[in-house]
Symmetry: C2
Subunit: 158 residues, 2 copies
DNA sequence: GCTTGACCTTGCCATCATGGGAAGGTTTAA
DNA sequence: TTAAACCTTCCCATGATGGCAAGGTCAAGC
């Protein structure tokens, strides 16, 4: 009987994890960095989550799945909570993120096609000569390949 | 006269950085984790690089620019040094990396197009209603967006 | 010779999002 | 009563990179 009397459908962090798709570890982390509010606690100190909290966690997960950084998600949450925000603010954030994604996509496509070109010319048999290694073995000073992208949040596919 | 008598065109780490495109910081790091051999030293303890070493550093940088991880580069270097390797080994590494790149590209393209669809329907004006935020506000339990990619090395564009 | 500035050295901390694990408390069901 | 399955906090690791600080070295100018 340690359940707090105010909790209706109070969920443990483990249940919140299942209901939101955000790991318990990350829920605690998001709370610790202030991305989400401090969870209510039972007398024993267990975190308790209501439907409202699960809703927030789902929002966060969706945004992570779209590749937004924690910082950007903080901004999105602020806009979400401000029912008088102009939609232009949200759109601006989204468009900027689309641009970031695009830059990364293009960079990786360049890497991929460079590598594919090298691989095409490689016999891939028992002989030692290999155009792929030769391609890595540049001799020109500034003749390098593409400049890869700025760091961006990536969620593990585990 | 602290120059080691064996050094012909001995370069400082700063010169090696300029000549290879790998930052001094990273050159030291690569040495510390054993990716590259220990550099020769002057009497005063300064690292000294010969043309051969610069060649290796360029190789590493090229591979990084193609998105290979440090671990993969270690394998590439081993193959590069083994003049009797079968080119199939190299090709196998390259093809696996192409696959990784492709997975990431597809994941990010999915994020991008999802976000574009949401953004298209957003007025982007002073009114508060916003389909983007609504899109993040999922209600379905497992109705989430894409599973993003496994972590992969990314070089900063600074 | 001495100073100054541009190098170099090591070492530690920060990033970003996430997981792992340890040491210990709680709850619940058998 | 005990064991399993939770929960708590705290610290450490990842990967590739940068930054900074405290200190040594070297070369050029006076």
């Amino acid at each position: 009987m340690s359940m707090d009397s105010t909790a209706g459908t109070g969920l443990n962090i483990g249940d919140a994890e299942k209901a939101s798709g955000v790991s318990a570890k990350m829920i605690r982390h998001y709370e610790s960095i202030g991305l989400i509010g401090k969870a209510a606690r039972t007398d024993a100190g267990y975190r308790v989550y209501a439907d409202k909290d699960i809703h927030v966690l789902r929002f966060v997960r969706q945004a992570r799945n779209l590749g937004f950084s924690i910082k950007q998600i903080g901004e999105l949450l602020a806009l979400w909570n401000d029912h008088r925000r102009p939609s232009s603010k949200v759109k601006q954030l989204a468009l900027a993120h689309i641009e970031e994604l695009n830059t990364r996509i293009v960079d990786m496509q360049t890497m991929k096609s460079t590598l594919e070109k090298l691989a095409q010319h490689c016999h891939g048999d028992d002989r030692p000569d290999c155009p792929i290694l030769q391609g890595l073995e540049i001799t020109a000073p500034d003749q390098c390949l593409q400049l890869p992208a700025k760091r961006m949040p990536v969620v593990r596919r585990t």
